[in-house]
């Protein structure tokens, strides 16, 4: 196994599938609904969360022995807030249009339950390397769902992917639109994101029956 031991690989791979933060733990739903109408913001959001969670987990893990447990939430918040501000400023500097599009949701990464959850559940009790892997793994698990949802919502809702009209031009009626196809306006609305996430959960649980909770 070279670089990663078996245990470490599990830290990365588990959150991608059977311990996914969105579909299994049902955390971080709000942002998954809000910014997945298109693929590009979904990916930017995923990358931002990977950065914040990976680095944040390391920082918290390094400080885990000196944080007084009574004020640990505040310390955690400060760490997230700092990292989120960095992401926000970078986006504003280098991708202004995108940061406009994502607007408040980059700032709201602070309140993303996945991040505080991993700090509390993992970084406070594990070393920096393992915490880093855990952070990357969970953020990737979050990102995968975002990208899947973003893909379907942009494709079916706007007929585009990354802004390219892959299904033809709806105005001049080329491609699929020539035979009467129309974009599904419901896909662009947030409720549909919830339904798409629900369908992913459904598929996942019918593939792996162990995930179904006892009623």
């Amino acid at each position: 196994m070279g670089l990663l031991s078996k245990k470490d690989t599990k830290l990365i791979l588990d959150p991608l599938m059977d311990d996914n933060p969105i579909t299994i733990q049902v955390l971080g739903i709000c942002s998954a609904l809000a910014i997945t109408a298109q693929l590009k913001p979904s990916i930017v959001m995923a990358v931002s969360v990977i950065f914040v969670l990976g680095l944040g987990n390391v920082v918290i893990s390094l400080m885990r022995n000196i944080i007084p447990s009574k004020i640990r939430i505040i310390v955690q918040l400060i760490v997230v807030a700092t990292l989120v501000i960095i992401v926000d400023q970078v986006l504003k500097a280098f991708a202004y249009e995108l940061s406009k599009e994502l607007s408040v949701f980059i700032g709201l990464i602070i309140t993303n339950c996945i991040i505080m959850g991993r700090f509390e559940a993992f970084a406070l009790g594990n070393g920096p390397w393992r915490s880093f892997l855990d952070g990357i793994g969970n953020a990737l698990g979050y990102g995968v769902i975002l990208v899947i949802v973003g893909f379907f919502r942009e494709l079916l809702g706007s007929g585009t992917l990354f802004g390219f009209q892959v299904l033809g031009d709806p105005v001049t009626k080329t491609g699929l639109y020539a035979i009467g196809y129309e974009n599904n306006g419901f896909m662009v609305l947030p409720p549909m994101a919830l339904i798409v996430v629900g369908i992913i959960i459904w598929v996942q649980r019918s593939r792996n029956k162990a995930l179904i909770e006892e009623a």
Binding site: G180, Y181, E182, N184, G185, F186, M187, L189, I195, G198, I199, W202
Partner: protein, 403 residues
């Protein structure tokens, strides 16, 4: 050997296999099963789920037939082929030409609705290994009646798939759904393809491009709610509205036939009269409030709500899908409230909210759809408090007695 015997043989042959539910469904749909319960203490009642569904369908048939004629009539009226119908039995309305045009447009809707919906039901029954349930029989009939005549068939198919899978199967199939499946399908269409579900170009059939020169390209016909929302004069008399000679979704225009359907449902004790009555009361109350607001002069002619608010309170029942929704959708026994007191509250709020949405949000002309869906969600809550209240009342009585 009759059809029944062959079906029975087929059923025996496939018993225990994966496809068994599919064959059973066909068998029990057409015939009484060969084996029925004979002795012992069982409840023997004729009104099982299938009979219930069949009666609802029978009560819908007049609306469907009227819808077919009306589709042709509206088109012919615009093309000046027929005159305006004078009474309910007018031959300008009930003629073969209207029927053939209408049937050509409406029957495909029915076929797609039933075909796609039942296919999904069969697939789920086979995968999950349960029997095919009869729930879709009514939904499949309701769907073509509540969509605009010009809806593209593939959109209807997509919506039916969505409605049956997300609205019903994920919750566990017939009897477990939270929302009325037919309305889920309509709501999906409404939000997904708004250009095909509202506006003034879709209510009259006829995409007449490439016909004779001098003919219109598209026939337009605004629904009454549509014109009222824009503060325009209504071009239809009250009798037209009552008989149903107005543009609208396929089968919901005729208040008269809906009343007959309501009578069938109430007399056969399948539809809840409590819900119907209280929903009518709710819409009348809200209509009266709006009339009062106008009478008080709080709102002037210039207001965009004026025409809808000024509509006589009882007139709301004749226009739009309010009557149809109240009779056929609000009374859906699965998604409505179960307790008697709950039914009064549930129905009243449906009427109340329908008229409110209708007046205040001209972008959502069909308030009744959203109102019923909203109250579907609240129905269990209403029931919960009714039951709790009853328990509390009885507990109090017990205390008085023992004290």
């Amino acid at each position: 050997m009759g059809l029944k015997q062959s079906l029975h043989k087929m059923k025996m042959k496939y018993e225990g296999t994966k496809m068994a539910p599919a064959f059973n469904a066909i068998h029990t749909f057409l015939y009484l099963p060969n084996e029925t319960t004979h002795n012992g203490t069982h409840i023997k009642a004729a009104d099982d789920l299938k009979r219930t569904m069949n009666i609802v369908i029978m009560s819908l048939v007049p609306c469907l037939i009227f819808g077919i004629f009306n589709a042709g009539y509206q088109q012919n009226l615009q093309m000046d082929v027929v005159e305006r119908a004078a009474g309910f039995l007018s031959t300008e309305f009930w003629n073969l030409e209207n029927f053939s045009i209408g049937a050509w447009k409406v029957l495909p809707l029915v076929l797609v609705s039933y075909g796609v919906g039942l296919l999904i039901e069969f697939i789920f029954a086979v995968i999950k290994g349960h029997e095919v349930e009869e729930g879709y029989l009514v939904t499949g009939m309701l769907v073509p009646l509540i969509v605009p005549i010009d809806i593209p068939l593939w959109m209807l198919a997509v919506a039916v798939i969505f409605g049956v899978v997300i609205g019903k199967e994920v919750f566990g199939g017939t009897g477990m759904n939270i929302l009325n499946p037919a309305l889920t399908i309509r709501a999906f269409l409404f939000f997904a393809y708004p250009t095909k579900m509202s506006g003034d170009q879709i209510w009259v059939a006829g995409d007449l491009k490439n016909t004779l020169a001098g003919q219109p390209d598209v026939l337009t016909g605004e629904t009454i709610l549509g014109s009222l929302a824009q503060n325009k004069e209504v071009a239809f008399s009250l009798w037209d509205q009552f008989w149903g000679f107005i543009p609208g979704s396929v089968g919901e225009t005729s208040t008269f036939l809906i009343l007959i359907g309501a009578l069938i449902l109430v007399l056969s004790k399948i539809g809840s009269w409590r819900i119907m009555l209280s929903a009518i009361a709710g819409s009348l109350v809200m209509g009266l409030i709006f009339n009062g607001v106008v009478a008080q002069g709080w709102i002037g002619e210039s207001s965009k709500f004026f025409a809808l608010m000024n509509t006589e309170f009882w007139n709301h029942l004749l226009i739009g899908g309010l009557a149809f929704g109240i009779v056929y959708m609000a009374t859906d026994p699965v998604s409505a409230s179960q307790t008697n007191k709950g039914k009064w509250i549930y129905g009243f709020l449906i009427g109340f909210v329908s008229v409110t949405i209708r007046v205040f949000n001209p972008a959502y002309p069909e308030g009744v759809m959203l109102a019923i869906l909203l109250m579907n969600v609240f129905a269990p809550t209403i029931d919960h408090y009714v039951v709790e209240g009853n328990i509390k009342k009885r507990a109090k009585r017990l205390k008085v007695k023992t004290a």
